[in-house]
Every structure is written in C-alpha cells, then in structure tokens.
Amino acid sequence: MNADLDRLLINALLALSAFSTLHARQLSLASAGFMAIGAYTSAILVVKAGWPLFLALPGAVLVCGVVALIIGLPVLRLNDVYLAIATLGFGELVRIVIILNPDWTGGPTGANLSTGFGYEAMKQTQTWMLVAFLAFLIYLFHRMARSRTGRAFRAIRENPSAASTMGINVVGYRNFAFVLSALIAGAAGAFYAHAVGSLDSTDFKFSRAVDILSYAVLGGAGHWLGPLLGAGVLTELPILIRDGVGSSVDFLKNFVQLPNILDGLALMLAIVFLPGGLISLADRIPAWRTRSRRRTAGPPTAGVVAPSAVASGVVLTLEDVTRSFGGLTALSQVSFTLEAGRTYGLIGPNGAGKTTLVNLVSGLYRPTSGRILWKGREIRRWPAHRIAAEGIARTYQNIQLFSEMTVLENVVVGRHARIRTNLVTSWLHLPQENREEAAARTLALDLLRRLGLEAVADLPAGKLSYGDQRRVEIARALAQGPELLLLDEPAAGMNDVETERLAAFLLELKKTGLTLVVIEHHMDLIMKVSDELLVLNFGRLIAQGSPDTVSRKPTVIEAYLGKD
C-alpha cells in the first residue's frame, strides 16, 4: 500500500465531490462535513458493530445520502451566498457533534487505539479499492456528461433562469448534485478512515473544505477531468517541492502547512487569472474543442417543427393580472385572451411592462394578484420548467444564450422536456439514448437550417453577431415544440435585411398553427406579422384590436411619441 498514492486517489474522489455541486453552479462547503460523517460512520460500523468493510462502506455512504436529503431540502432553496454560509455552518456542526460524543467517536482525543478503535480493525483500505471506485465514478461522470443530464447541468451552470424556461427543473437537478456530492465525499471519508487507521476531528476542520474547493477551482468546474487535474497538481506539488528543493532546505522538509498554503494560493490565483481552471486551457486544443462534434446526427428531414397538439379556440387567458415590486406596480389589472394560431403584437414604450408580462406567463415571476389560465388550467403557481414542458416557450430581450455551448447544443437544450431518457438509461448506456439524442440533433440542425444558421452550428454561441444570436434563441425556443411562443424584441440589433428575413420566417411559422406573441419596436415588422395588437403603457393595457385601428388611436400615438 502506497500512502502517497492512496492520498492522491482520495483527494481525487473529494475533488469529484466538489465538482458535483460546482458544475450545477453552487458553492457548497459541505464536502468536509460529509467526509467526516462517512469516515466516522464507517469506523463505528466496523469497530463497534463488527461489520465487514464491504458492508460498512455502503452503510456510511447511505447515511451521508440521508443526511444530504434532509439538509438539502431547506438549504438548497437559498441563494448563492447564503448557501455557502449554511454549508460552512454544517461542516462545523458535524465537527461539534463528533467532539461531543466521545463514546461513539472518541471525542477530542480522536478515534484511535486509546479510544477503542484498534489499528488492525481500522486499517483495511487497499489501493485497488480506491482505483476501482474512482474508475467507476469516472465512468458515471463521463456518461452523464454526454447525456441529457450533463447538458442540463451545463445549461444550469451558465444560466439557471434561462435553463428553467427550457423545461429544466433546476431545483431538482441541484438537489441531485448535492446528494451525489455527499455520497462521494462520504465514500472518500470512509476510505480515508480505513486507509489512515485512526481519525481526529481536526482531520475535517474547515481548512479541509477549502482544500477540496481548491482542487475543483484550480482544475476547473466545466468538466469532470478538471477537478481530477486540480487534485493531482495540488497533491503532488508539495511532494515534489519537498523532495526536490526541500531535500536541501531543512524547514521545507517538515513544513506541514505547505499543501494548505499551495491550495490557498491556487484558489486566489485561479479565480483571478484562470477562472475556468486548468481545463479551460484545453479549449485551445482543437481535438478537445470538437469532441462533441464527433457525435452523429441523422439525415436532414423536410418537416417543420409542428406543435405537438394543434389547439383551437382560446389558449391563454389573463384575468386582472397585477404585478408589483415593492412600491412599484409594473403591471396593473391586465386582462386579455389569446386564440390559437393567431399572431399578437405586444407594443408599448420603454418601461410599459411588456417583458414583465412575458416573465409572468413563462413562470419566472408570480403575479401579485390575478389569474393566468393556459388551456383552462391555472398556471400562475407553476414553476417555470413545468410551464415550458406544457408548451409555452419564450426568448429574451437581453440575450440569454448559453454562450460557452455551441449553437447546436443550445438548440438541443430546448429539446430537454421532450427527450424521455434519464440518467439511469445513460448510465446503463442503453441504445434508446443514442436514438433520442440523434433525433434531437437532427431536429435541431433542421431548425438551424431554416433560420440560415447551419454554417455556425459548431461555433460557441457567444461568438456570434447580435442578430445571429437572436435567431439562435428563436431556434432554441422552437426546439421545445411549443404551442405558444413569446418573442421579446427578436429584431433588436438586426439590420433591415435581417429584419425582412425574420418577418418572412415568422409568417411561415404562422402557417404551422403556432400562437405567437411578438414584442417589438420595429413597427413595420409588427404591422406585417400581427393579426392583432396589444398596447401596454404604464403597466396598463390601453388598446387591443386590429393593427390598423390600434395604430391610429390617439392614446397609442401619444404613448409613443409623447404628448405636446
């Protein structure tokens, strides 16, 4: 048994634990706490209950999972800063529980020979176990990265609220990531206990959590390989220094805190100079960058994305909808109905409440009062991802693409709610996953083609021009197969030619039976595509009717050009 290698492997496991939460864009400092729970639980099971290792390890992991579920539920609702603080508190709480229960854990003296934790019973970890477990986790993460789940996490990491309007259950995924992180940290802790042979509560003090974080931050949380790289560098570097320079400099040989100082430096330097971590450097290697391209898409089909069920009659109803933010009333008693298959232009001056309205319908906000009915059902309390899955899609006024993902991937994210395969099918590598993924990519490519974007399908979305980015957003929204599509200033930043082409495309969409709501300031575009106009001013609906009538109304003209 090689102690250095064991330490490296355990740090790799811990790094993966941190990766699990970081790649869902959450800063959790709970890994040290779960590591402690895993370590002590396994030690107690082996020594006090006499369990064999192969049962004690899963037992310890299970306990961590249960604890994670219990604290995860309230804690993961919190926003970033409060979550980090809560997990910080959790770690310390675990340490206190350990110290205050010496009968179980050996208390402040630690779990060692003097407190009844015999060395022989404890020291059981073999290096091959660590290697096998790490390989297993790598397989899981690798399959997850290539699956719909991995794509969902990438979307959540870049832009959680946009991801939710694509049908991704952000809270659910984050809960999963948190529990997974706890399970891995617990396993690492259990392995650690039986590798070292004795435990001390100071093994899991706060600096441990920061060390674990430094592996993931240095390596980069964009890909599972990153944290492994980080763990490798930060575990080996102190050893290299000690064996190299340290052999001639005495104080370095016994400089216990060297790894900690290196970890701290790595954190500070990485966050300032290389926020994406070491793995982001890999993007400079073409072979790495195009790895996702090497997956197949089927042959092009001729069909346009049709709504999954063509409705008729009234599809959306707003009744006296009001939305206030503190003292400011953004929308006031707005009521209207939308009929299937028609195109509505939503116009009004800056600050009139148009985007607020779209945010309410798509589920990002809840109305302060009033009702929102979609095909007869009250949806005002529904979370955004449920509304998206039910057939309402939207684009954003200030572009909310996942800029690091390719254009094609962005559009495929839109298919999230329509793909049936889940993580289990990915992990078992069942064939239906490939089928569904290929179908999704085909459909996505098709949409890009129809919007004239197939040439840029493999470029990172953030590199496109403004007008092109807007069209990618539209493709992404259409990929959801919606029945109602809300477009928030789709022509902003487009020149005349692009606006013409957009108008033509929207007219094509009308023919598919899709219900459209278009917010725009480009009046010629609005007049060309709309069957009906809705005019908002100061949060109130001031006019509704055919474009000709509405545009001639004095109140409307006044709202735009101003009063004398």
Binding site: V210, I261, L267, I271
Partner: protein, 308 residues
Amino acid sequence: MDLSLFLDPTYLGQNLVDGLSRGAVYSVFALGFTLIFGILDIVNLAHAATYMWCAFFGWIVLSVFGLPLPVALAASMGAGALVAIGLELVAFRPLRREGAEPLAPMISSLGASLILVSIAEAVFGSATRRFPGTVIDPKPLEFGGSGGLRVTWAQILILGVSLALMAALGWFIRKTRMGMAIRAVAASRKASQLLGINVNAVVMTTFAVAGALAGAAGILVGLMTNNIFPGMGAQIELRGLAVVILGGMGNIEGAVLGGLILGVVETFTIAYLPSGADLKDAVAFLILFLILWVKPTGLLGKSAGTRA
C-alpha cells in the same frame, strides 16, 4: 436541573452581565463583516484570519515588548487595518471588473484565509498563547457582598471598549463626510461614481475600518478567553456569520443587536441548561440555520446604512 436557579436574581444579573460582555465582542467582530457586505455585497471570509493575526500581534506587543494594554489595542487595530487593505488590493479589487462571477470574491477570500491561517500555524505552532497576567487586574469587583454580582476588570474593559467603538463607528458613518460617502456607495455604486466619488478610495477606507474592528475584537477576545491560537478564527467566524444573518446582512444596527442577543443566549444556555456548556457552541449554528430557514434577510433586514 436546579429550578431555583431561575428564580435567583443575582444569578440572572450575573449572566446578563457576562452575556452582554461576550455579545459586545461578537458585535464588534460582526460589524466588520457587515460593513464589507454593505458596500460590496460580498462576504469576506478572511475577516477571521485578520482577527487571529491581530490577536497574536497584540500578544507580541504585550508579552514580548511588555507595552501596556492601550498600546497593544491601538497597534492591533492598526495592524488589522493594514491587513484588510492588503486583502482588498490582492483578493478583491482584481475581481471588480466586468463580467466577474458573483461568488468569486468569496472564494478568493477563502484562499487568503487558508494562507493566513497556515502561515500562523507554521510560525506560532498550535500551542496556545496567553496575555501576561499583569495586563489587567484579575481580581473581580464585587457588588452586594460575597454571593452578589461579580464583575472583572476585563469585562468592564471589554464592554467599555466595545461600546466606545460602536459609538465611534456610528458617529463616523452618520456624521462625517467619508461616512456619508460609504453609505452612498453602499446604496448605489453607479450613482456614487456619477457624483464624483472615488469609489475605490471609499472601498479601501471601509476595509481599513473593518480590519481595525477585527483587530480590536482580537484583543478583546484575548482578554476574555486568554486563549490565543491559530485556529481561533473558526469559532468566531461562525458566530460572526450567525450575527450578521440574524441582524440582517449589511445592517449596522442589526450587527450590534444580533451580537448582544447571541452573547446573552449563549451565556444563558450554559447557565440554565444541563450540559449547557457543551451546547453553547451549537447555539450559533442553530440560530444561523433557523434564520436562514425562516427569514433569510434577518431580523432587521437590509435597512438604513445599506442599500434599499
């Protein structure tokens, strides 16, 4: 459990005094946290490491140089200000550019904290240091004869210094030009820039004040517990976080109130609950989790002195 304890007014009074003096120190520490959060919206997790180094610095001034307590206090506050300014320049300012991650400053402060604590461990080792016994008269004052209220000079000093610092801070924030600028930047950085305020200079000043408060807390805790070691930051950091969350992030009055409440609740836990001494550490966490669950914005929320 001795029920008669609940009825003993002297016991109650004693614990109130102990609790307030303990709580006052928590408030001084937490004020540093809350100032930084109010002005930059970030949690400086290296605040505790600053405090720990200042405690050691004070110990050096007292033990190695044999200088009197007021000198140690002033030196400690000065050192704290310098360390905090260093942190702002190295850990926070480089991240204040466009498009930086909102959590990056917090992560950066974690790294700085790790470095500072590790260096302290390497330099000072894990053995605890104590302030020399000659620093302050350990004989307590007694009121009402033996069995009455006992107050040590240390407690009087701690309460006195803490209250003085809080009053000074309040005056600074409300009555001086720079204090007004700090409140302006906390309310709106963009508007402050358009008024011609040099935002970076204001931020730097805020850090200096926060660091000085950490330094003062270091000396006061040294007097209170007489137990100075590199890991001492962890205990007070959690308490500081609990206090600012209890009182409302960025809220100065909240930090004062929250600290006093925590101090009193902790002391009462030890005094009235069986095995209370073990539980006292958990009090801060329980308060933390409770508030985060029920009302994350804290008792007083973000109010006067912070953004609207």
